[in-house]
Symmetry: C2
């Protein structure tokens, strides 16, 4: 088993780092800010990819792949875009032993290289919509890095769509942020607030950015996915016009949307505990570990352990046995708790005699006995579903507890150290940036979901907590990763 | 429909380019030598990935992800490796607006960055074997590029394994080249010759390279996959030692193996024709297109078309209808032939009345009638299997026809313009490089498969066709992509 993990209460940041390394999820490499995603971590990404990819395809999207390198002149075509991204790019100046005539940027995001292609592909409304997604690596030079959450290179998917009308693009933006919300809640067991970003927090080059925001166990916010309405900005930058069905010329409307390997960081920080990783069963490539307690008739126990795995697999539950005699059962219990296997089955000679086994849930650490009869797989499956649901419910209760509404800036400053804060804001960049400067808290989201709006009477006008000026609505503030 | 495709007989190279672009498989980007893999092309890669990934996992491999950037000092650690790769690398000199203290190479392959991690992970024989695969993009600065076959950036998988003994590494090298052969033959319908590379053709840093070689329709060879025995070379370069079960210290043994998006090029060049792409059904994401002939009672025809698709999907056959009235049936026939959909179903009012439909195979262009009864899906499935088998058989006959054995250098020079040539070789680098210089043909493979060895009595000693010196065996020469 790996080294001891610092407890969350002692040092939350150190707990996270210890956990990621002990559970062998990721390592820093010797390349500044670049991580190695180890097999245990990559397996989570593969489950995420499979679920998201299926949801993208169900909504008519197809995958493609565009170049890693972006010519400097492309990045420069969209004014806000270059201002936002150029300073954080890695730049290739030499290739094949020679200095390049034009510098190449390693993609920080692919709008520009993709719209250079779309310009060639789109002539008429008949060529629209284009609904393309790309799974890729991107590079953004980061000063302070943290495994999964903020690394110089990371993996992500980026959707880039082209539409004939503004309305169609708006629908796509909402469709995709809704898919992200569904994925976060149903697969990651992570409650999120869906809504809009303020002007200053939106994507460089977008007219509007929608996001989903989640709360971590330290009360901080983590942006878990974004969907951008790019208007006609990139079409204009790349002179991408099309003939409308009415026979006129217009610029194409665009969206882009993405989630990245930082979701793995979100998953860890939302559910895990001082023993290690806690994984929602839907994202666990191995849901059940069977640990034989080898006393007395070892053969019979091992045979029964294999039989259990076989039965579970037949019912679509990925299970495995650890029958190695190199380590004790106690060592194994701790190791698989660290790795976040959702369910542990313990099986000894006495269990065998009683035609039962002991099952231990990773989320609550509860142990119960389960009869080894015809209902076994179904019962295991029910426990797994219950773990999935419990993780969501627990995270939602936590978020509700840690969300407070404040009426004054004094209250605000204390509350924002501890969780999400709902407060009236006057809608100005000035107030937003002053609050950020003074407290490091930002406006995370202008919620769009009725349930959330109702819960906190978000649309009620009032007085800005900072400026004292009239405020049209409340917004959600938090410190963020 | 797209532009006209040049015929193979007129200009094979132009035919390939025309096909790739007309079928919307890939495009050049404005970044020198970098391609855009369009959705039709990427869908083939996704099918390839799924099949290979399953085969890797069945044999105990797991996926992980290592950094895109490799510090210059890493590349330099293995002498042959830097000599082979450094000249063709893209180099990052600036990041985050500043010049870097150490240049970063965009990975041309990942042995060095991976072995820097393995050194940290491996202490004892208990940590072995490590069986890791990575799906990634790599960059090799190419002077002459060709879509899919040779591009500056391409996608691939690279397996990197670490073992306690030389023998175990040897087994792994053979296991993986055998998996590649199985994949090429069973999925790509592409017969390949499995064997060893000569010293001069092996991977920079390997002790031994195994490969699979395929013949294209112009008689040229294409290397479709490689598996390298890296000996202890990288372990020594990165000082990666481990404690053996006997308690001694030894360097770790290594293998690496990979296939790339050039397989898509191989697939096209092996099977396609002057009408466009021909895809083996196992790699077609859409196996059947139904084209309604809309005369008379349109509704009844459209309903039946949908019913056919529904039935086929229920039986696991991916099918779709093109019922658009924008284009004629004839236009659609040509379009889906271009796209390589393996089977076309035509359905008109007369077919409906006769409870039948017309099916047209993409491989032979044969049309037959099929009754729309309970056996329908099974019959379609059988035709798809027969297409898969026919493509393989056809490619194998072609290879056999285009493979000749020669006894003199005069014969050799003529024959090698036309296909594979079996000839005696004296085993020296000198002869090999002279022949390459004079004819541009290279030794593709020293076959290892009994069937192939027997067929051409490869192991029979004789006289080198070039030098006249004694030759221990015959080898396979060809011009290559």
């Amino acid at each position: 088993m790996a080294d001891k993990i610092t407890s969350r209460s002692q040092d939350y940041s150190q707990w996270y780092i210890d956990l990621v390394r002990s559970a062998k999820l990721a390592d820093y490499s010797d390349v500044r800010g670049c991580m190695v995603i180890r097999p245990n971590g990559y397996a989570i990404w593969e489950k995420m990819q499979a679920a998201l990819d299926a949801m993208f395809k169900e909504t008519g999207h197809v995958n493609a792949y565009f170049p890693l390198f972006i010519p400097e002149s492309y990045i420069a075509k969209e004014a806000e875009h270059i201002e936002g991204f150029a300073p954080e790019c890695a730049v290739v100046t030499h290739g094949g032993g020679e200095e390049l005539a034009e510098k190449l940027y390693v993609r920080p995001t692919s709008e520009t290289i993709i719209w250079a292609s779309y310009k060639k592909w789109i002539q008429s409304y008949r060529d629209l919509p284009i609904l393309i997604n790309q799974w890729a690596n991107v590079v953004r030079w980061e000063m302070r890095t943290r495994l999964f959450l903020r690394t110089t290179e990371f993996l992500w998917q980026e959707g880039h769509t082209a539409h004939a009308t503004k309305e169609e693009a708006s629908e796509e933006v909402l469709r995709m942020i809704t898919i992200y919300k569904k994925f976060a809640e149903e697969y990651m067991a992570l409650p999120v607030i869906m809504g809009r970003k303020t002007e200053s927090e939106k994507f460089a080059g977008a007219d509007e950015t929608f996001c989903i925001e989640a709360m971590m166990q330290d009360g901080k916010a983590l942006q878990a996915g974004t969907s951008h309405h790019l208007g006609q900005n990139f079409a204009k930058a790349f002179d991408c016009q099309f003939q409308t069905s009415a026979g006129e010329l217009d610029f194409v409307w665009a969206t882009s949307w993405g989630v990245s390997t930082r979701l793995i960081g979100a998953l860890i920080m939302a559910h895990s505990d001082d023993r290690g990783l806690v994984l929602p069963p839907k994202l666990a490539s191995r849901q059940v570990v069977v640990i034989p307690i080898l006393r007395g008739d070892k053969t019979a126990v091992l045979e029964q352990a294999d039989a259990i795995v076989c039965t579970l697999k037949k019912h679509g539950i990925p299970a495995f046995v650890d029958s190695s005699d190199q380590n004790s059962p106690g060592w194994k219990f701790a190791e698989y708790e660290l790795q976040g296997i959702p369910l542990r089955i313990e099986l000894g000679p006495r269990d065998l005699a009683g035609k039962k086994c002991v099952v231990a849930r990773r989320d609550t650490l509860e142990k119960t006995e389960l009869p080894l009869d015809d209902t076994f797989s179904m019962q295991v499956s029910e426990i797994l579903n219950s773990i999935q649901q419990n993780l969501y419910d627990r995270a939602l209760s936590f978020r509700n507890e840690k969300t407070v509404e404040v009426k004054s800036y004094e209250e605000f400053k204390t509350a924002v150290e501890n969780g999400f804060v709902i407060a009236h804001w006057d809608g100005t960049d000035e107030t937003e940036s002053k609050i950020k400067e003074e407290t490091k808290a930002t406006i995370r989201v202008l919620p769009e979901e009725q349930e959330y709006l109702d819960r906190y009477t978000m649309m009620e006008p009032g007085v800005c907590i900072y400026s004292g000026r009239p405020a049209a609505r409340k917004v959600v503030f938090a410190k963020a990763y």
